[in-house]
Every structure is written in C-alpha cells, then in structure tokens.
Symmetry: C3
Subunit: 430 residues, 3 copies
C-alpha cells in the first residue's frame, strides 16, 4: 500500500465568470504558475503520483509548465467537453489503480498546508473510509454544506441551502480522499447513466456512496480562497503576498540610492528601480520590470518585463507580464498581460457613496463584497490617456479605449470605445 493517495488536480474547468481573466490555473502569483506552485506544495507534503485534468485549450501549456517539476510522477489528461467534475475524474480512471486511494483537489482552491496535512494524517489512521474537508464558516457561504451526525459522519451534502437552512457550519472544500478509486468511478458512471444533467454527478455519486460507506469530515479553520470571480485574483494575490518574509532581492538588481524598499518584498533579477521610486511590501516585482522615477508600488504583484512609468502608483493590484503604465494610478485592480495604461489614467476604486462595489457577471449585478475595487482589464487592451475606469468595471482582451473615456460599463473583447466631444470654437478677433 502506498503511503499517500494518488493525487488528482482538476485544472480543466472553463470559467466564464472569470472573464476577462483566462486560464486561472496558469495565473502566476510569483515566478510560477498557480498550478506549479500548488504541485510543489503537494510534493513537499509527500505526494508522488499526480494526474492533472486539463482542457483542450490549456493542455499544451499545462504539459509545458509542469515539465519543469522534477521528482513527481505527473500525467496530464484532457477532458474534451465540459461535462462536469464527475466526467473530469473519469478521465483519470485508466491511470489510477482501482484499489488505490484518490485525493481530489482543484487548482484554484487556495488553502493552507494544514488542511492537506490534517487530511493525510486522518486518512493514515484509517485509510478504509472517505474524508471530506469541511471549512468552518460563521457567515453564510453560497457553496455545498455538509450534513454531519453526532459521530462526525457525513450523511449528506446540500448545495446552497440558504443562510437560514444551513445543516451545519461546515462547507465542502474540494479536498476529498476517497478510500478506493474504483468504487468512486463506478458510482460516477452510475450517475451519468441515470441522467446527463444537471452536471453535479460527482456530488450525487458521493451522496449515493454515503448510504453504504463511511464519509467523515476533516474540519478546517484556515484560509480558503477560491478563484470564482476575477476580483478573487486579488484575494489569492494577498495570500501569496502574506507569505513573503523579509526582502529577497536578486543579484544585479539596480536600486537607485534615493529609491526606498520597505517591508517584505521579492524583487527578481533584472529589475531596475529608479530614483525617488518606492516599493512598499508586501510586494512582488517580476524579472526585468522597471519601476520608473518617483513611482510607487505597494501591496501589489507586478510580474515580468513591466514598465511602471514615472509617478505611476500601483496599490493593492495584480499586474501581469509586459504591462505598460505611465503617470497613472492602478488601484485595487487586475491587469492581464500586455495591457497599455496611459498617462493620466486612473482605476477609480471607491464609490461616491462609499458602498460595496458591484460588478456585472453574465448580465447580472454581483456584489463583490469589496469596499475598494478598481478595474479588471483583459490581455492586450489599450487604454489611451486620461481614461477613468469606474469601480468594478471589466475591459475585454484587445479592447481599445479612446482618450478621456469614463468607463462606466464593461467593454467586450476587441471593442473600441471613443468619446465624442463637442467643441465651441472662437476664431481670432471674435
């Protein structure tokens, strides 16, 4: 018997709710993509055999990025169609011994190592039963609640019961150890045979198994951040920033004598920080990025080869690779790669009434639960001088926004938006 379960990492889900952020498993919160840093953590916890479930779009990139990890036996399988988590797990069946225990996780759930350690520890004590991590939540969370009896045995799973009908304070985190993989695959097959929709076959399979086998909860009190909406990138970023300790500055980094680096920071190689600039930790500055004269980066991640131009301010924001910014304010915002944010631009981050910021997801207003939120800007968007984005707006990949535009509504991928000004012209002598 293996000392650890076989690890499944689900990385194939396509989340249109994350628009204009794409491929959340490949987002980088430091030098490595999220998937890689998750795998390295699991490796340290003792896992050896891993199957990643990808989708047709990200398969090649995922295969590429995990190829750099040594010491893990990694296989990438593809879920061709978005048929749900149950189907995703079935893609792994050919490669997992039926008798082996299976640890199911999702790449975009960010939790402390303690959760996994507790799961493994509990499982080692009794590897013959199934374990589900249950996050203790005082406030209501729109997820799956565990029904638990007096002996900590899970007897059911209720999706979004409503705040008043919670069967417990334990919310299902996708960190599940199934005692026998074969038994799980059979139960999932049975659910797909019963009906194709809705796509909660995995949850239904678990509910069915609960009648005949023991499921037990492993309670968890720590951090749990999930990438469901694009502003959650900021939450995950904060998590990673909070783990930076001290100052790690690569050799050869140029820091002008009047620049100031304070707090916990990682500054990668090739970075240049010009006179009068400041980096206030926690912060991560990616390789080759330039922090121009009198610029300020604080509480942010600015990835590789970015230009943080003169007097630019980046506060509490996530800025991906190769973004150009100049004399602008990037506040509580998420910028995908190759965005151009011109001089004078600001991501307004505070409502006039100082209320919670909402954002439009698939046509509906969603409360972000954030008092401060700027903009989410997709890959390659070009914002001309003096554009003002209103709190919570999203701008699609490749969009172009003309000078002086106030962006009050989302702009779709590839749209071009210009303001028409009306002029009053007086000729000389009039």
């Amino acid at each position: 018997m293996a000392e650890v379960p076989f690890l499944v990492v689900l990385a194939g889900g396509v989340s249109s709710r994350m628009w204009p952020v794409r491929e959340k498993s490949l987002l980088r919160f430091g030098p490595d993509p999220l998937l890689v840093s998750q795998l390295r953590r699991m490796q340290k916890l003792g896992f050896t055999d891993v199957i990643i479930v990808a989708n047709p779009e990200n398969q090649a990139t995922i295969t590429d990025v995990v190829s750099g990890i040594s010491g893990l036996n990694i296989r990438v399988v593809v879920q061709d169609e978005a048929r749900g988590m149950g189907d995703a797990l079935l893609r792994t069946q050919p490669f997992v011994p039926a008798s082996r225990s299976l640890y199911v996780t999702q790449v975009h759930d960010i939790v402390d190592d303690d959760l996994h350690r507790d799961m493994l520890h509990t499982w080692r004590n009794n590897p013959s039963i199934t374990y589900i991590a249950g996050a203790r939540r005082e406030d209501y969370f729109p997820g799956g609640y565990l029904v638990v009896d007096a002996n900590d045995r899970i007897t059911g799973l209720i999706e979004k019961p409503g705040a008043d009908r919670r069967p417990s304070d334990l919310v299902n985190i996708v960190a599940h150890i199934h005692a026998e993989a074969g038994r799980l695959f059979e139960a999932i097959h049975a659910e797909y045979a019963r009906s194709e929709t809705p796509d909660d076959h995995y949850e239904r399979a678990m509910s069915a198994l609960m009648g005949s086998h023991v499921f037990r909860v492993v309670p968890y009190h720590g951090v749990w951040k999930a990438l469901k909406y694009p502003w959650h990138v900021l939450d995950v970023m904060d998590h990673y920033l909070s783990h930076i300790q001290g100052q790690t500055i690569a050799p050869g980094v140029f820091i002008a004598d009047t620049a100031r680096i304070t707090g916990n920071v990682v500054i990668e190689e090739g970075v240049k920080i010009f006179p009068g600039a400041a980096v206030v930790g926690p912060a991560y500055i990616g390789a080759g990025t330039i922090v121009g004269n009198n610029a300020l980066v604080r509480g942010s991640m600015v990835l590789d080869r970015c230009e943080v131009g003169f007097t630019t301010e980046i506060a509490r924001s996530y800025v991906a690779d190769h973004v150009g910014m100049h004399a602008c304010r990037v506040l509580d915002s998420v910028f995908m790669p190759n965005v151009n944010f011109s001089a004078g631009c600001t991501t307004a981050n505070l409502r006039i009434d100082k209320g919670v910021v909402s954002s439009t997801i698939k046509g509906e207003r969603v409360r972000t639960e954030r008092d401060k939120l700027g903009a989410i800007i997709g890959q390659g968007a070009f914002l001309s001088v003096d554009v003002m984005t209103m709190p919570g707006v999203k701008i699609g990949a490749g969009a172009q926004v003309g000078p002086g535009t106030h962006v009050h509504q989302d702009i779709r991928d590839g749209q071009r938006v210009y303001v028409k000004q009306v002029y009053h012209i007086v000729e000389p002598g009039e």
Copy 2:
C-alpha cells in the same frame, strides 16, 4: 476702576457671503479655533472680563471651545435672531456694569496686537471719551469711513462713500472703546425704538452720540484681514503662517530620510511624512495627517487627520480636518472638513487671460482681487476622479461631483452633478 475695559467679542453673525465656509469664528488656523486664539491674544494684552455673543447654532460649540481657556472670566450670550450688531451688544447689557468701559471687537477681524495696545494706551490716558480704530488705507475699501476734524475728533461715519467721496483715509475697524457701556446701550435702544430697519443701529447710535460726546480716532497702519468672503480664509491663513518661526516638529513625528522639510513649519504629533515628500514652509501640518510618498505641501495649512496621498500637491491652500486627497493638485483653495478630492483632480487657479478671478456671491459676480484662486469646497463634498474646478468656483457641503466634470459654476449644498459622455463604439471586426 478696572485697568482694562470689559471685552465684547461678536461671534454670532451669520454670514451667507462666506458660503460654503461656515462658522468663521470656529475656523482653525493652527491647533485652536480662531475665537480661542483671538481670546488668548487679548488675555495677554491684559483683558480679564469677556462676553462672547454667539448665535443659537454655534453657542454650544463656542461654549465648549472657550471652556479650555483658563484665567479669563468668559461668558457666552446668545443673540436669538439676526437683528444686527446693535442688538448683539444689547445681549451683553445684563452682564456689564453701566459705568464700565466696553471694548467692542469682532472675532473675524484679524489685526496686529499693536492696534489693541494703542487703543488701550490711548484710553488709559483719557478713559472718559470714546475711541474708534481707524485703518489708514490708500486704496478705496468698501467699508465705513470716518469723518475727522482737525483735532482728530470723529464727527461722523459714512458707509461706502465711493472712491471719489472719501471723507478721509481712515476706515472704521470694529475695535471701539466706549467710555461708558450704559450710555451706549441707551443710545442703541433709542435707535431700535426709532425703526427696526435697516440694521445699522449700532452705527446710528454712535453717530448720535458723536453730537454730544467726544469720539476720537486711533489710527492704525498694520495688517487688517477680515473674513467677509470665503477666499479671505486664505488671507487669514497667510497671516497665521507668516507668524510661524523656525521648525516646530512634535516628538514622534515620522519623517522619511528622503523627505524634505524646509522653511518655517509647525508639524503636530502623529504626522507621518513618507519618502520623497516635501513640506515647504511656511506650512502647518495638523495632528495625525499623513503626507504620502512624493507629495508636496507648500505655503499651506493642512489640519488634522488628512490624507495627502501619493504625488498630491497642496500649494497656498487651506485644508481642514479629515480631508482625503490623492494624486491631485490643490492650488490656492479652501477645503472644509471631510472633503474627498480624488486622483487626477485639479483646482485650476489661473484664468486663461491671466486676469483677476471673480466668484459668484448671492447671484452677483464679485472680483476676488486675486490673480490666482482655486476652489472653495464645503464640508463632506465628494469629488470623483479627474474633476477640474475652474478658478473661483464654490462647491456646497455634501455635494457629489462625478468623474471628469469641469466645474464652471457653483454647485449647491447636496447637489449631485455628473457629466454625460457620448460614446462611439466600434465592434470587433468592423
């Protein structure tokens, strides 16, 4: 007989011309409200008995703020209705011995101590007559001119005679020593009995007394600043700033090593001045205020608990408590408490024709006599990103101004003003 007259400080006048600045007697030009600093000065000059005439709105606050002054015998009386200065003085009658001399002043007249010293000195030489301070003015001033005979005896008082009809170069400052309070009260009563309007009973009473009693002028050449229009706050501020000598920095103040403090400044406790910021005197920075990275404050007062955000410039401006400013330009402006001035905002301070700035007072254009003047912004107003205020405009308390608005006209208390942009949208592929 007392060594000094009984001091009356008029602090009850309601001045709609000061809108959106309120309660001018309570404005702070340093740690103390104007009224308190005026009283402390009078205390140093020897006054012992003081009556302050308040109005129903400011009575409680005035009573509160003067309670901290020890060594003065202070009474606060209330003028219930705005019936003029004469009526205000009659409110003091129950508390002033009829035979005592009475020194009448206004809280919002800022003069050098020399004026009061000369008045007291002259009065001590002959306490049996009445004295009026007369400011020598070469340029015409729209106030009350003194008619003076060859023996320096005042024989009349002419309100706003016009530049060509000035009877002298002496303008009446409300710094009057009446030889006997009882005689003055009687004369005022007589004027109210004669007619209720206009409300210049005090001046009429004095004119009447001039027929039977000696009034003499005490000429004055020094500073005289009065709070009549809201931009006068800047003049009074300049007066107080000009009295700062050297650098007084409270213990525990944080000043980054690359911040620079030059000139005469007072920096109160709890202030933080971040890297690259500069404070250029004369300047006053109130308790708990934060001067952010690369910000600049010069020739200004910024009171308590303000946020002077990244790259904000405050020049020659008065900023009251708890104002939030961020990446903006506050130039030659007056901000009341709790204003929010967002990123990219500017108070334009110079007319395109570089002429004298005018402002609208009660529907009429008034020349401010200033070449540079920004905006006057009332308590709690919220200006969104990139708002441009034109020279001399005023914005009411609680007003909300949407992003990118050019404010060409005054905005009333509580109004919300937004700009409607017209967009030209091109879909991808078009």
Copy 3:
C-alpha cells in the same frame, strides 16, 4: 587667392511647412541660435568672409545675434521677396568678388564638420571645379538625386525621382563650392530671364553649367538633419544633445541633495533643481529654469526661464524659453516660447495601433516616420488643465485650449477651443 571660399549662409527662406515653429535659423539648441552655432563651427573650419541672406522679418534679429561673433567678417543681406534660392544668391553678388569661390550652405541643414572638411580639402586640391556634397542614402529620400558618371562627375540633378528611379544613392545637400562666383551669378540671371517660375532657378543654373564645366561629387556618410517639418526640431535637438559630453553645471546652480543628475548634461546658470527631481542626460537646461519637486527631464532641451513644475515629466522634447508646465507630461513634443501647459495635460505620443504618426501639413496628411510624436505648440499658446493632445497635432501661436479638451486636429493661430460638457444634475433629496 584666399585659402577658403566666400561663405554664403541662406537664412531667409520662409517655411510655412514648419508652422507653428517660426524662424528656424533662430531656434536655439543650447545657448546660441542655430545660425550662430553654425557660424562658429564654420569659423573653426577657417572661413573668414560670410554673407547671410535674411528676409525682411528676421533681418533685424539676425543682425543682432551675429553681432556677438568676433573674428568673422559678416554681412547680412536681405531677400525682399521669396523668389527662390537663386534670387537669394543674387543678393550676395554685389559683395562677392566674381573670381572668388563661393561656398553655399543653408542654416537649417545640420551635418557633421567632416562634410565641410572634406569639401574644403577636395576643393584645395583643385579649386578650379565645382563640388556638390552628396549624402549616401540607402532608403529613398524625397530630395534631389545626383546623376554621376563613372568618373564621379555630376552630369545632372533630378528632383524627387521616385524610389524606383533613383539615378544613384547620392542626394544633393546644399553644401556647394562654386569655383567662380561670377560664373554662377551669370547662370542664375540667365535662368530668371528665361522664366520666373518654377522657383528652381539655382538648380537649373547648375544643370546648365554642368554641360560646360566640371561638377564633382564629394560623398558624405555622416549625420544629415534638415528642418523641413516642425518635428525635425526633435531630430536637430537629438543631434546637439548627442554632442554633450560629461556634466557641465554652471557655478551657483542649486541642486537639492535628493535630486539626481545622470548622464551627459549642460545646466546653465541660475537653474534650480528641487528635491526629488531628476535630470537624465542627454539634456540641456537653460539659464534660470526651475525644475520643481519630483519633476523629471530626460533626453530633452528646456531653454531659459522655464518652470518645470511639480511632478512634470519632459521626455525627448524641445521646450523653448519661458514655458510654464505643471504636473503634466511633455512627451516627444516641441513647445515654442511662452507656452502654458497646465496641470494634468499630456501630449499623447503613441497611436493606439502603435503605427507611424502622421501630421497635417497644408491640408495633407504627412507621415512623420516617427513611432512616437507628441504635439507641436506655437508661441504663447495657453492649454488649460487636463488637455490631451493627440499624436502629431499642432497648436498655433496664441491659441487657447479650454479644460479637458482632447485635441484631435490642428488648432490655428489665435483660435480658442472649448469643450461643452453635458451635465446631469440631481437636486438634494431627489
């Protein structure tokens, strides 16, 4: 026989294509007007006798500025009407001995000294023939191409032949040594006698002479910059900046301890550079200019008595005397004297499609061949707060541009342009 030819400097051409830049011969690229620095260079090369051809407008100023040059025998003649280069040369006829060689140059052609040295050297070897400098150009240049035979003898001159019909890779630079002045004057007279138009009499005269006299090319590989369009000011500026070596800082210049001066710079007397500011070479800062707190000047010339206000950025730009700038971005731009560029203004320098910037010259779109180009702003123009100029626009002398204007098209001399905003106003309580 003199050791050097008689030097003619053509400085009278009126170029409407340079609008709103005026009097290109008087532009300063350092302490001296272009004409003066050209003359000083020629003086070092040995020239002694100079005739400058001016026009009625610039005659007085030219006479004035060259009066400060000692050691050269300078005469200023005036071409009353714009009748072409041939006529300009005829203005010099009364003052040049007919037998003397004549070196014809234009003030606005900027070349390396090597060109003149090679010309003189070749001429000294054989002073009896005529020499034309020919710039070797791989790319097509819309100028005059030399037709050259196997013996380097010039047999013709073809204006703008088109890229596919170039007779050689040698382009005519106006650096011509005519063996005998008299012979040239005669030939020009003949052409004017033949017809008044078109105005290429000088070129026609040379073509005619080529039939009977030897013209030889002196090839040239070095820098050649000409002031044809106003953005060429930036090219000439770059040329002059590239010749600055090390740091030349006048005595008495104030440089704050936290200001940083890097690279090759000239900083003239009376300059003040305030805390947190940076000057990044190559750069020239003219006398009396103030570089305010946290401002940045790089790759630019800022001439005399300018105010580079707080957080202003000037990059790769030419800024003439007495320009006021405040919290703004001056990028790849040319500003004539006395421009006012207010807070928040930006000269956008990059097209959204990142293509080559075009500009309108006499009603036609001209490719500037620059990826980055800001604005060209004429003398005394006033740009209010938050004006955004689009790449390649030009603004006339004395123009006024209202707050928040996006300048998409050229603004003529003296025009006043304002944006009309449409407001949505909500009253309190609504």
